[in-house]
Structures are given as C-alpha cells and as structure tokens.
C-alpha cells in the first residue's frame, strides 16, 4: 500500500521542475539517467586503462626477449631500455584484474544499468534517494581517481595480484608495490565498497517500494530481478571485503597479527605471531566469489531482456529464470572455498565446497537451456545487442563447463593457478559480462542518448571481438593443461615450456586484434552521441516501460501520470485463438496496455 501512496505522491508533485544549472544537471546530478551515464563513461575510461594494461603484459608474455619502446614510454623507470621490470609485470596484472572486476564490470556494468533501468522499468520517477545515488557515483569516481593515482607510486602500484593475499600484500620488504601502492589500493577499494553499498541499498529499496501500480514482483522484467538480487548479494558480501581490508590495513600499519605469523624476511624476524593468511583468503573469497555473480547476473538479466525482445518471443521459463537467479545468488555465497582447495584449509571443507560448487552448475544449466529455447522458433532480429547476447550465452557455456573441472577439488589440484583458470574465468565472467555490457549499451543507447548507434560498426565490433575472444582464451586452456602457471613474468626459465611460446604469440596477436576492435566501439559510441541518427521512442518494439517515456529526458521520466502495468513484459507475438496478434498488426504488447477483450493473462 505504501508503495502506491509514494507513487501517487510523486504524481502530484511532478509538475514543478527545479531550475537546473550546468552543475546540478551534468556534474552533481541526482537524476538516475544522468548518473547512469556518468557510471558508464567512468567505467569505459577505466576499461580503456584496464585493457591497455593487458596489452602491455601480453606483449611481454609473447616476446619476453624483445625490447619494446612502448614499455619505456608508458612505464618509465619500470621499463628502462624497453625491458619490463618483473615487479611491474605483476603490478600490471594486479591492477588489470582490479580495474576490470570492480571498476568496469561491477560499477561500469551494474552501476550503469541498475541506475538507468530500475526506475524506468518499474515505473518510478527516480531512485528512492537521488542524493545517496549521487554520493554513490561520486565515491566511485573518487575511488577510481585514487586507483589511477596509485599507478604513480614511487615503488610501483599494488602488485600482489588482485586477490592481494598477505603476507605479500602486507610487507613492502616482500615486493615494492606493497608500500604506498598497496595503501592507495586499499583506500581506493574501501571507498569503492562504500559507493557500492550506497548504490545497492538504493536499488533494493527502490525495487521494493517504488513499483508502479500493477507491477507485481512476478511482472518485473528479468533485468530488474537480476539487478535486485545482485544488489542483495552486494550488500551481503561487500562489507566482508571491507573488514578483510581493514584488518589488512591494521596488519600493515599498526603491527597487529591477523594474517601474519612466523615471518623471516629481509634478514630479520618479524614480531608477528598467530595470524593466518588463510583467514584472509576466507574473508576475501567470501566477497570474491559472490563478486563473480555480482558481475555476471546483471549481464544475464540484460541478456534475458534483449534475447526475448529480439526473438519476438517471451523468455522461456520466466519463473525458472527467476528461480535460477535466486538459486545462483544463494549458492554463490556458500562456494567461496573452491578458490582455496589447496590453501591448507581442512580437506573436509574442500569436500563441502565441491558439493555446493557443482550445485551451481544446475541453475546455470537451466538458464542456458532456457536461452536456447527462447531462440527456438523465434523471429530473430539480429541487432548488435542481440548478437552480443547470443555471444554471452556462448561464452557463458564454454567458460561455465570448464568450471566443472575447477570446481572439483580433485581436478583443481593440478590446474589450480594455471592458465586453465585464467581461460576459465575470463570466458565465464570477463568476456560474458563484457558482452552483457556491450549488449546493454547497444540496446539502451537510444534511451540514454536519444540517438541510435551505427549498426554496421556494431556488427564489425561484435564479430571481431567474438572471434578474437575465443582466439585468446580457447588456446589458453591448453597451455594451462600443460601446467603453465599464471602470473609468470616470463616462461623462458623452464625449457619445458619452450614449445608453448608460439601459442603465447598467437594469443597476443588475437588480443591485439580484439583490443583494436574495441576502438571501433569507442568511435561508434562517441560519434553516435553527437551525430547519431535520432532515435524513435521504441526502436526495438519492446514491451518494457522504459520505452513509454519520451526520447527527450525529463526529470521524473513520464510527463504525465505514471502509467499502470497490466501484464508481464514478455507478451511478444502473443496471438488470440484465431492466430491473429493480440493487437492487430503488432507483434508486441506493452506492459502498460490493458488486457484486450477475450485475452487471457499468462499465470505470472
């Protein structure tokens, strides 16, 4: 009841618009549509940095003996004479992981589309708290700035891997990057967590309270379900990372021994006693694993929506999809130990985590099958967003299947921390989530900027990326099976790996091509903002509510009263008994269209 009351309240006050200055409109905006664009642009800039780093270390891996001028130009004293410093290699790997996981795929993906779509798709004028939403973005911005600044630390940026396992991350004696670089990393991440929590709380409250009349939970688009559940796992798990980071800060700065014990380094014994790095691993992965799903679920939600729209078919098994999201979310919080099978943790725990981990394969399989069935007998409109969504299902399957090997404690023994792992998680969460991000941008660009992106550039972007991504990560499984460890600066110190070097070159070449294809996207993105074709109100003939708002953004989203919802969002190609579409000549029925005469509502 309260939800309806709030909505009504908004309906009355939508008329008086505040006068907006440049600053309140474009910088400290409290409008969810502007904030979502801010997230997107910041995320893309961080993405450029993250991908550029991967190119640098891929060059190093492919041609370890070669001197690259670009190293000297970009890395300064860590690239003297064009030779990359080994600790800089680790720093690049570390920051690449951090940026891509947190700044691009958490904030850039979930931040962008949760902000854009939650109010628009549930029929709300804005987020529950526009102010908190603004704070959330600016904290994210601040943490991004600090993370980028940390690259300029004298002794190098954080270089203990994105998992920052102590003692390596706690002791500047162990590696230079664990000094100022690591401090800045921790500060940046602490702020990031605050930002993420404010955002997530806002999403949850908005979804629960601000749905328009008729928008029951079972009529919500799957995007909203995904964002909603993602926000919940974020709230459950991010605080644990904060405590892990706080304890690490204390170990580093105040002489405590949470993670440190019995250490002799740089010629002296440290006083620390009784701590355990395994504790840190538990705390880290308690966030770290749900994080994978924080990254992936929004992408799956976006894909569900785009595949249904472009197949001109309802998503197959709506309830099963929702149940899978819930099951994945629940299981994701009790599988973290599969990152730690050989960490020295009790082997019995390993058994339990194997069990829960392989359980996750079940809802994941259901989702994949449901996507495939949604395509079956559809009338597929192969827009770039649709291609990226199909691409996502493909990489999700490929990457997910190898998870069966890594999730099995026995099999993990010999592939743990090899390139097999790198291939697995890049496909299943990295590439898949990126595809989700791209799909979302192509699909909702008209809603964000009122313009259309060029589809042909979109096609080029997709196909080069699709071939390139498999070209990079498929062969990587094989060098992992050879027992090649990840995070090695060069493999030339083990002659046994000499025959893998050609494959490393191949991977790097594919990586270069794939990265170049992203420039096509950037070009398309920027040019379309300014010179793109003006969008119509509902370019993809979609059912969801965001396409009932005017193309020009207005504060409060709908010019008049907020429309009510009468049906679920997937009435595509619904026909009457005589085989005619429910609305003659139109294969979709918007959620705000009341039931037609004689039409039966689906049980949703």
């Amino acid at each position: 009841m309260s939800a309806i009351a709030t909505v009504d309240g908004h309906e009355e006050d939508h008329g008086h618009h505040h006068k907006e200055t440049f600053i309140t409109k474009y910088i400290f905006s409290q409008d969810h549509k502007m904030i979502s664009k801010q997230y997107l642009v910041t995320g893309l800039i961080m993405g450029i940095i993250g991908i550029a780093m991967s190119i640098l270390f891929r060059l190093q891996l492919a041609w370890p003996d070669h001197k690259f001028t670009i190293f000297e130009v970009l890395l300064g004293k860590f690239g003297t004479d064009g030779v990359m410093d080994p600790s800089m290699y680790l720093a690049l790997v570390t920051i690449h992981g951090t940026i891509m996981v947190f700044f691009v795929l958490t904030a850039g993906l979930s931040g962008t589309f949760s902000n854009l779509l939650i109010p628009l798709q549930i029929g709300a004028r804005d987020m529950a708290s526009g102010f908190l939403n603004m704070i959330s973005y600016w904290l994210f911005f601040l943490s991004s700035v600090i993370m980028v600044l940390s690259l300029f630390a004298e002794a190098g940026p954080a270089s203990a891997g994105w998992t920052i396992y102590p003692p390596l991350s706690a002791l500047p004696q162990a590696i230079g990057g664990s000094g100022t670089g690591m401090t800045l990393w921790l500060v940046s991440m602490a702020i990031f967590i605050a930002s993420s929590l404010l955002g997530s709380l806002n999403y949850v409250v908005t979804v629960i309270n601000l749905r328009t009349k008729g928008m029951s939970m079972t009529r919500m688009p799957l995007t909203i379900w995904a964002f909603f559940v993602t926000a919940i796992i974020g709230i459950v798990s991010f605080p644990v990372l904060l405590s892990a980071a706080l304890l690490l800060i204390m170990d580093r700065g105040f002489g405590t021994s949470f993670y440190l014990s019995d250490i002799y380094i740089a010629g002296e014994v440290l006083h620390n006693q009784g701590g355990s790095p395994v504790l840190f691993e538990h705390l880290f992965w308690f966030l770290g694993h749900p994080e994978v799903y924080i990254v992936l679920l929004p992408a799956l939600g976006i894909t569900s929506e785009i595949i249904a729209t472009n197949s001109r078919k309802p998503i197959f098994g709506y309830r099963a999809m929702v149940a899978s999201i819930l099951a994945i979310a629940f299981l994701s919080t009790i599988v973290w130990g599969h990152h730690m099978f050989i960490s020295g943790m009790n082997p019995f725990l390993g058994s339990v985590f194997t069990f829960t981990t392989l359980l996750i394969a079940i809802p994941s399989a259901v989702k994949s099958f449901n996507y495939i069935t949604t395509l079956w007998k559809g009338n597929l409109q192969l827009n770039p967003a649709m291609l990226f969504s199909i691409g996502l299902v493909s990489t999700f399957i490929t990457g997910g299947l190898t998870g069966i090997i890594l999730g099995d404690s026995t099999l993990d023994i010999n592939v743990h921390d090899t390139y097999f792992v790198v291939a697995h998680f890049h496909l299943v969460m990295g590439i898949s989530a990126l595809y989700g991000l791209f799909a979302g941008v192509y699909h909702w660009f008209p809603k964000m900027y009122g313009k259309m992106m060029n589809k042909n550039l979109g096609y080029i972007h997709f196909w080069v990326t699709a071939v390139g991504a498999y070209g990079v990560f498929f062969p990587m499984h094989f060098i992992g099976m050879a027992g090649l460890p990840r995070r090695y600066y060069t493999n030339s110190y083990f002659p046994y790996f000499d025959d893998l070097s050609d494959t490393n070159v191949l991977i790097t070449v594919f990586a270069l091509i794939t990265a170049a294809a992203q420039l096509v996207f950037l070009y398309n993105f920027i040019v379309s903002i300014f010179y793109g074709k003006k969008a119509v109100q509902n370019p993809w003939s979609s059912n969801t509510m965001e396409w009932t708002t005017p193309v020009e953004h207005i504060h409060g989203n709908w010019p008049g009263a907020i429309p009510h919802v009468y049906r679920w969002p997937y009435d595509y190609s619904k026909t009457n008994e005589d085989g005619e579409y429910v609305i003659a000549g139109q294969d979709y029925v918007s959620q705000i269209t009341p039931l037609q005469d004689g039409e039966e509502e689906m049980h949703h």
Binding site: L168, D408, Y488, S573
Partner: protein
C-alpha cells in the same frame, strides 16, 4: 620494429574496417537508415552465426590436433592415475555438452533469423522440458561429485602410520626451495623462523635432538614406489609447491605446516625415455636450436640443450622473481636414493662445520 609494424598493420586493418563500414553505409538504400536490423541484416548475421559455430568447432579440433603434445604425460604418481581418469571423464562430458549446446545455440540463431513475414511462436513455459533439463544435470553432476569426492578423500587422507612413508619437509622462501629429510629417525626436528641464524637457514631448533640427523638439500630426491609425505613450511610469504607430473600441489603458508602426500611410480629415467618425453624434448630442442642461431648471430650465448628433469615450481604469486622459483626433482631407485642421501650433510655436521670455522 616488428611491434611497430604490427601496430601499423592493426591500425590499417582498423581503418579498412571503418572504410568498409562507410561503403556499406553508403551502399544502403537511403530510406532505411533506422539502424535497426532489417531482413537483409538478419539474413547475413544469421549466416555468420552458423559460420561462427563452425569456426568454434574447427578451433577446437585445431587446438586438439596442434596442442595435444601440451597435455602432461601419464602421471608419475600412484594417485595420479585416478586423477587422470576423472579428468578424462569430465573432459569428454564437457566437450559433448559444449558440442551440442553451442551447435543448438548458433544453429537456432541461423535457422530462425528474422523475416518480416515470419511469426514467432508464443512459447512461454513447458514444465516437462524444464524438469528434464534440470534433472539431467542433477544426475550427471551427482555422479561427478561422488566420484570426485572419493578420489579427493583418498588423496588427502594422509596417514603417517600406514606403511613406511618418507617424511620430507619442503621449505619455501623468496625465491627458492629447500628440502629437509628427516634422517635416520624419520622424524623432523622442530623448527621456527625465529631460530634462523648463520648456517641454520631453515630455523631448525638446535635443542631438538630429532633435528640433528636431518639433511637439508637443494634438490628433491625421491625413491620410487615409496610413499612420501611432504610437510611444507614458508619463511616469508605464500608460495605453492606445484609438481605437475605428480598431479600434486599444495600452498605453503607462513605460520602453519601444510601437507601433501603421494607415491612416485616412475623414475626420472623412465620418464625421460618414455615415447612422449623423447618426442617432446626433441621438439623443444629443435625450438631452442632455432633460437640459439638467432642469439649467436646477435653475439649472445647459445641456449643449452634441454634434458628433461622433473621439477617443482612455485605457483602462488610471491614476488618479483616468482617466475623462476624452481627445484629439481629426481625420482630414482631405492639404492640410488640411499647413495645420494649418504653424500648429503646432516644438520649436526653443518653446525659443527660452522663452529670450527
């Protein structure tokens, strides 16, 4: 220079793609500039989807043909046989599922590519279908889980009482390994980094008599067909003792002792002379010879000819030289092992040698 060329080539590819898209754009009929896929797009993209799955199949086949020599040779440890069997079963399963699902996904994308006059089927639910594809993974995974767990328990159940296991400490520090043999009594002396001093680089407790006959070495020698229990200790940061040929890995954690155990079943000689390894080493040496030619031409030293030895490597990021933290492993007959061990100094001798200096 090659890099510069590569970048130039990539830039040119980028430009040509961009130009191609311009041409495409110009060649399009002006009336359809909606940027929404039309039938022509659907047709082309659908066909490309089909081509893509063929590309994936070919990539898979190419990788297996080209890279089959990358797979590790048959396991050199007893439990590794079970490991490999489980791996093969999982792999076959994965590739069957991969083949079918990717095929369906892309084939549907091709077959049902949109046409204006087509009508999609309103098909929202089917409990039976959904039940089927929930229950199939449940059964298959249950099988895998149970099989995996039995193997896991076997591997991880380390019983010092059973049989006559050899006790060896693996000691890791930035950036090298040491092995400490328990000596005559087969009991390791107590140790802690706080005891590190002079030659006592592993921090063995000098007041513990069990430690006196311990032998500290920088190669790991193991007698074939005897169970060995590794007790692992780290001096500074996390390391991981990875012995891929024995399907063995365990993290080495400062502040605690971690354990792993296996029975080596193939001596270094046997492995060197196996068909797999002879071929592999020949390939590697061919590559090294080619590289050496270049090096010599540039005035550098040629690379040494490679001869296979088992190795232990660090597999947990541990600092700048993480990439070169290795130790040679030799598996040999009981006699050879004993002969070698005799040549190694005991801890007591090391101490007295230091004292007399």
């Amino acid at each position: 220079m090659t890099v510069f060329l590569t970048i130039v080539v990539l830039a040119l590819i980028g430009i040509s793609l961009w130009q191609m898209s311009k041409i495409l754009k110009l060649s399009q009929v002006k009336s359809d500039n909606s940027q929404v896929a039309n039938d022509k797009d659907n047709n082309l993209q659908g066909k490309l989807m089909l081509a893509f799955v063929i590309f994936m199949y070919l990539l898979t086949i190419y990788c297996f043909v080209q890279y089959h020599s990358f797979f590790l040779p048959e396991s050199a440890s007893a439990h590794g046989v079970d490991y490999d069997r489980l791996m093969i079963i999982s792999m076959v399963l994965i590739f069957v599922v991969q083949f079918i699902t990717q095929g369906l996904l892309h084939f549907f994308a091709y077959t049902y590519r949109g046409k204006k006059e087509n009508k999609a089927l309103f098909f929202a639910d089917n409990d039976k279908l959904e039940f089927i594809w929930t229950i199939i993974p449940v059964i298959v995974l249950a099988g895998l889980i149970i099989y995996g767990l039995f193997t896991w328990t076997d591997i991880m159940n380390i019983d010092e009482e059973e049989g006559d296991p050899l006790i060896v400490e693996l000691y890791a520090y930035q950036f090298d390994w040491r092995a400490r043999y328990a000596g005559q009594d087969n009991v390791l002396g107590k140790a802690n980094v706080r005891f590190i001093e002079g030659v006592n680089t592993l921090g063995v407790d000098v007041s513990d008599s069990y430690g006196m006959d311990d032998k500290i070495t920088n190669e790991l020698h193991l007698p074939v067909n005897r169970k060995v229990i590794f007790k692992m200790r780290s001096q500074d940061v996390l390391h991981s003792a990875y012995m891929p040929f024995f399907r063995a890995q365990m993290n080495v954690v400062p502040g605690m002792i971690t354990e792993f155990s296996y029975t080596p079943t193939m001596t270094s000689e046997e492995m060197k002379n196996s068909d797999f390894m002879v071929e592999k080493v020949a390939t590697i040496n061919k590559i090294r010879k080619k590289k050496s030619k270049k090096l010599v031409a540039a005035g550098d030293e040629a690379l040494e000819t490679y001869e296979f030895e088992y190795y232990l490597l660090c597999n947990k990021i541990c600092g700048a030289s993480h990439y070169n933290m290795q130790m040679k492993i030799v598996v040999e007959s009981e006699e050879e092992y004993n002969t070698w061990l005799k040549t190694q100094q005991t801890f007591k001798d090391q101490l007295s040698a230091q004292a007399s200096n």
